[in-house]
């Protein structure tokens, strides 16, 4: 199952669907060029209060901030728009990119003495294959396919323009919003349900199993 270049498949990230299983983290290590190094981040938002987790691949900005701020000119974008890890001979480990990235993607890996980041499995996508994380993701929080496939099968609208303060960022990777009406963009797209405010109905008093909780 391979995509042809003219099908222009896109990467979509919908963090609200993440179940925190880490298949992406484990899969990323297995991608041929990653050699045991996982380059995807899976954040546990606040385990004390929620099971919400959020996977983060590189968004591959059209005009990548990480590359702009690199004093060593070590971060390169290829003709397909993929932003790569720092070139090892050039990377000086300053971590400017780590601090500057609006999405918090690059990490300086001291053991490797190099900034490493998601390259959207360039060895796979260049052959029309899905990236490893979007191949294995059981909940399709990470998804790769054509825009038509998305429209046919998935709810929500794709968006790839973000504003951080006065910086506008347009990315190769899309995220999903309920609708495109203007308004603040909540990339975690909270599911506001009445029960979620008080899952165990502790305020309602229904819950009383003999321990004095009410």
């Amino acid at each position: 199952m391979k995509y042809r270049p003219n099908e222009a498949p896109v990467f979509v990230i919908d963090q609200s669907r993440c179940i925190g299983c880490e298949a992406c983290v484990q899969g990323c290590m297995e991608c041929g060029t990653h050699r045991g190094q996982s380059l995807i981040h899976l954040e546990r938002i606040d385990r004390a209060t929620t099971t919400q987790t959020a996977p983060m691949v590189c968004m591959h900005c059209e005009d990548p901030t990480c590359a702009q701020v690199c004093p060593a000119d070590a971060i390169k974008q290829d003709e397909g728009g993929i932003v790569h890890s720092a070139l090892k001979p050039r990377c000086i480990g300053c971590s400017n990119c780590v601090i500057a990235c609006p999405f918090g993607v690059p990490r300086f890996m001291a053991e490797l003495d190099q900034m490493m980041k998601c390259d959207m499995c360039i060895d796979r996508t260049s052959e029309g294959l899905k990236p490893m994380c979007a191949s294995v993701c059981p909940s399709e929080a990470l998804w790769y396919g054509t825009r038509e496939e998305f429209a046919d099968n998935r709810r929500g609208e794709l968006i790839r323009e973000f504003r951080f303060g006065r910086q506008d960022v347009r990315t190769l990777v899309y995220t999903v919003v309920d609708d495109l009406a203007p308004g603040p963009l909540d990339v975690l797209r909270g599911f506001e349900r009445s029960w979620l405010e008080d899952p165990f109905d502790l305020e309602g008093g229904a819950h009383d199993a003999g321990l004095g909780f009410s």
Partner: protein, 739 residues
């Protein structure tokens, strides 16, 4: 006495668990595979398709198998890392005999000597104590072929009635409930029905961690606008986005289902045509819930009456709906009641036999569905036949070429076998792919039982905690070292292909059993030269049973990427959806309602043990961890058990996140860190079960069994919790060490 030969620490240092971190050749090897083998993951009943990359008889990695329709390349972390169970430093390569004078506790012996000793011990014990004094325990990590062979081997080679399997701790409540209500034990739907459901109700299943792939099916339904209901004591990851959350108190599920049926009747959200034409005993079920109002159920379950009413309305007014349940409602001393109460909801609303409609268990173990059909259950013969039914016995005796009287009768269930060992009536045990010391309830009791065995032989690929007690260890085969079929949770028969050959002197499991049968002078019944020959006999043995594989061929299974049973003749298209046209498997074609009055769990909280304990899995570990506790990346994802508790309970106990606590039940105690999270009921704690010894939550769980399914009550116990004082801290660590 099958006690461990040397200290546990010494055994672990020799046999692991050690952690396999890298593929053969390392990450930087740039090794090009010789071939890529299409097969399946071994780590749960979803049986995801996967391609294994092979080089020089070693599995060096995987590639998603996008074309396999069930999972289309998707995998959970266990699937991604499954290949690292191969080429493992802990792998058993030679037959081992217990020898406490050896520094490793065992000495290597020849296959001849090992098999002869097993055969002579079987004979000795059976001559002294009768044929049933030697028992066999099997596992559903085995293929259909091996499961079938184990059933035949125990009955005809060992001649014992006492054969059971570890599905007894997994799917038997669902199986028994399905048979009673629907006349057949199979998931009623292909998973492709889930996206067609307008309401998806998940009861007692942490799908995100135990069946991650099913999440994508549920989202497909939700993308169409389906509503999601989750019934669980915890806000499990899937529940977080649910439309309705029903936070049941452990052990109260049938009260909740009863109140929902009460509401369906009260509001006439019933399919009268379906009830009249395709079911019996509705009135009895209705009478049993007459007083089960939502307000009553709220007092039992701790779920607000309004939420129960909302669940009933969603289920009762949706044109289509699927209720998916798993171990949460099934691993109880009333697991069958819970399953029957759930099925009542499907029957009352006509949600069976139609697209997007069904009440279905989600099978847990790898070949949990197929394994239980082929006759290695104490009460069953191949084809899901009943070992107590004379006609069924005659059919199987005909296929086996033996006299019907040679097939022993119904034996003891798995937990009852352990109890009989403890009590002394069973003296010998052969087990394959079963680690009861970790997976059975009340593990201190299980250990005492294993210690009492006169002779214990184990066929396995790693030295599991149970195998540490063995007198004779026979190195068998990994999933990827043999071929055969398995049947996934949706009833799809799939083909398992061999990627490598067993290393060292390890052998294929079926060859070991065939050789052993020869040494027990029963070789005439086991003329098999290949796994495929076993399958050909299985087809005949299953023919005419409910799980009818007669028309199944390995070739078709591979070419069509699975076949759903029953397949009664060659060329038959298979049966993805059961009960179409309202035809059920009872002789009159009708389904049965069952009256389910509420009863409490075997143990309820009291002043001494005031907190409910429930147990379950984490996504990175599988069952007793024999395989997954040996894979570094999976161990690091969740290294050791934590006790989830609500901040309210933590405050009452004076416990902060990460504090060590002692959790004590009437059976035992354990010390572990608290994980303080607002995602669990304040009266309930949760501990995952994948670890052995002092990290085993099964030290605490209750041996109480369901009266019908003989399922132990893993999901409900009463415990006390004390904070471990800084002065008492043990500070011990038994983390697996790097290979």
């Amino acid at each position: 006495m099958s006690r461990i030969p040397i200290s546990e620490e010494e055994l672990i240092s020799r046999y692991g668990p050690h952690l396999n971190e890298e593929p053969p050749g390392g990450w930087d090897g740039g090794i090009v595979p010789d071939r890529v083998v299409q097969t399946h993951c071994c780590f749960c009943g979803q049986q995801c398709g996967i391609k294994l990359k092979v080089k020089d008889n070693e599995v060096i990695g995987f590639e998603p198998w996008y074309e396999f329709p069930f999972n289309e390349g998707k995998l959970c972390p266990k699937g991604v890392k499954r290949y690292l169970q191969g080429s493992h430093p802990d792998r058993l390569m030679h037959p081992l005999e217990r020898d406490s004078t050896s520094p490793s506790g065992f000495r290597q012996i020849s296959w001849d000597d090992a098999l002869n000793r097993v055969a002579s011990e079987v004979r000795r014990i059976q001559e002294e104590h009768g044929p049933d004094a030697f028992a066999m325990l099997s596992g559903v990590s085995l293929t259909n072929e091996k499961s079938y062979l184990v059933g035949k081997f125990a009955r005809l080679a060992l001649g014992t009635a006492n054969l059971d399997y570890n599905g007894r701790f997994c799917m038997v409540s669902a199986g028994a409930g399905n048979k009673k209500a629907l006349g057949v034990d199979r998931a009623p739907n292909p998973w492709s029905d889930i996206p067609l459901a307008d309401v998806v109700w998940v009861a007692g299943s942490n799908i995100a961690e135990t069946f991650p792939i099913t999440t994508s099916y549920i989202w497909k339904a939700r993308d169409r606008g389906a509503r999601l209901i989750v019934q669980d004591p915890r806000v499990v990851p899937l529940a977080r986005t649910a439309d309705l959350f029903l936070p049941v108190r452990p052990g109260s599920d049938s009260a909740l289902f009863g109140a929902v049926l009460h509401q369906l009747i009260r509001n006439d959200w019933l399919d009268h045509e379906f009830i009249d034409n395709h079911t019996v005993d509705f009135d009895q079920a209705a009478a049993a819930v007459a007083d089960m109002t939502p307000a009553w159920a709220a007092s039992i379950t701790g779920v607000a009456a309004a939420r129960i009413e909302e669940a009933a309305e969603l289920w009762g007014t949706s044109a289509t709906g699927m209720l998916l349940h798993a171990r949460g409602i099934e691993q109880q001393s009333k697991g069958v009641d819970n399953v029957l109460a759930a099925i009542n909801l499907g029957l009352a609303t006509g949600k069976f036999g139609k697209p997007g409609c069904g009440v279905s268990t989600i099978t847990g173990q790898g070949n949990g569905q197929g394994g239980r059909e082929q006759g290695h259950k104490c009460d069953q013969l191949p084809g899901n036949r009943d070992i107590s039914n004379p006609e069924h016995r005659e059919h199987v005796a005909g296929v086996w070429g033996c006299d019907e009287s040679e097939i022993p009768g119904k034996g003891l269930s798995a937990e009852e076998i352990i109890e009989a060992i403890h009590e002394g009536s069973i003296k010998g045990l052969l087990s394959i792919c079963f680690n009861p010391l970790v997976s059975a309830p009340d593990s201190n009791f299980t250990k005492e039982a294993l210690d009492k065995l006169e002779f214990y032989s184990v066929i396995d690929f790693f030295l599991s905690e149970s195998a540490q007690h063995a007198d004779m260890v026979l190195p068998g085969s990994l999933h990827e070292e043999d071929e055969g079929t398995a049947t996934s949770g949706e009833g799809r028969i799939i083909k398992i292909n061999a990627a490598t050959e067993p290393p060292g002197e390890a052998r294929l499991d079926w060859e070991i059993l065939v050789d052993l049968a020869e040494r027990l002078d029963r070789g005439q019944y086991f003329p098999f030269q290949s796994s495929k020959e076993i399958f050909e006999e299985l087809r005949l043995a299953s023919a005419g049973g409910t799980a009818d594989y007669r028309g199944v061929t390995w070739e078709r299974v591979e070419a069509e990427m699975g076949l759903f049973w029953p397949v009664p003749e060659e060329g038959h298209p298979g049966t993805p959806r059961l009960f179409e046209g309202g035809k059920f498997y009872h002789p009159d074609g009708k389904a049965r309602f069952h009256p389910i009055p509420f009863r409490e769990s075997a143990e309820v909280v009291d002043d001494e043990y005031p907190i409910w304990l429930t147990t379950g899995r984490v996504v990175s570990q599988y069952l007793s961890g024999t395989q997954t506790r040996r894979i570094g990346a999976l161990v690091r994802q969740y290294p050791e058990p934590l006790c989830e508790m609500h901040p309210q309970l933590a405050a009452q106990l004076g416990v902060s996140d990460g504090d060590l606590i002692t959790v004590t039940s009437r059976r035992g105690d354990m010390v572990l860190p608290a994980q303080v999270v607002a995602t669990i009921r304040p009266d309930t704690v949760f501990i995952p079960f994948h670890w052995p010894g002092r990290k085993a939550v099964n030290q605490l769980t209750n041996r109480a069994l369901d009266p019908i399914s003989r399922m132990p009550e893993f999901k409900v116990s009463a415990v006390r919790i004390d904070r471990v004082d800084d002065s008492q801290r043990a500070g011990e660590s038994s983390e697996p060490r790097p290979a």
